[in-house]
Amino acid sequence: MSVVQDKYLIRVSDDIPSLEECNTFVSDPSCGAISSFVGITRDNFQNKKVIMLSYEGYVPMAEKELKKLCVEANEKFASIKRIAIVHILGDCPVEAASVIICASSPHRREAMHCVEFLIDELKARIPIWKREIYEDGDGESVWKENVE
């Protein structure tokens, strides 16, 4: 029985694979390079102490758009072998991962540039929203907006 592995691992969920799992997914004997990006919750924003982020997503559309984004990345960076791109939903405390992206390629340059492209585009167009929850006051929080 031959097993054809999926080219893309995509998940938007309150339970996402670890960095190690994403890394293992993209690993391939033909690849010499795996580049990764992990977005984690920072404990501060403009001098306010942040307790956690809380994420909401339009799940089916977000996953569909991520799939399109992977296909587009693979057109732009042709040697990319596999991509994992996963995003958390719900509460994400300080130092926890909100997004993990891994890409593999035979040589290093394409994997690194592909991951940079993917995180930039994810932030620009995937329908996911974060609310920042601050320590002070009565659980004050605001919906964020990606500015870049």
């Binding site: 977005g39 997503g57 339009y58 167009r125 329908p127 996911i128 929203w129 907006e145 990606n146």
Partner: protein
Amino acid sequence: MSIEVKVLLFASAREAAGNISETSISLDEGATTATFRRVMAEKYPGLSSLVLDEDSLTLALNEEYIESEVVLKNGDTIALIPPISGG
């Protein structure tokens, strides 16, 4: 004749509408996304400034972003996409 569309609201749009995440509304046949924005603004006054602001709030029709005015069909799903902030 009228059509029925399913509406999904997220994040600040959901909250502005009174924490409604899903609803459906009736529109006249031939209604466009612009019509839809006006009807939503009337029905949910708290949402009106956001839903009428095309620079801030994008629409997705059947899980695809739409860039320009589109005629809606019965059974469409339309999602209100306020400024995103994933990552």
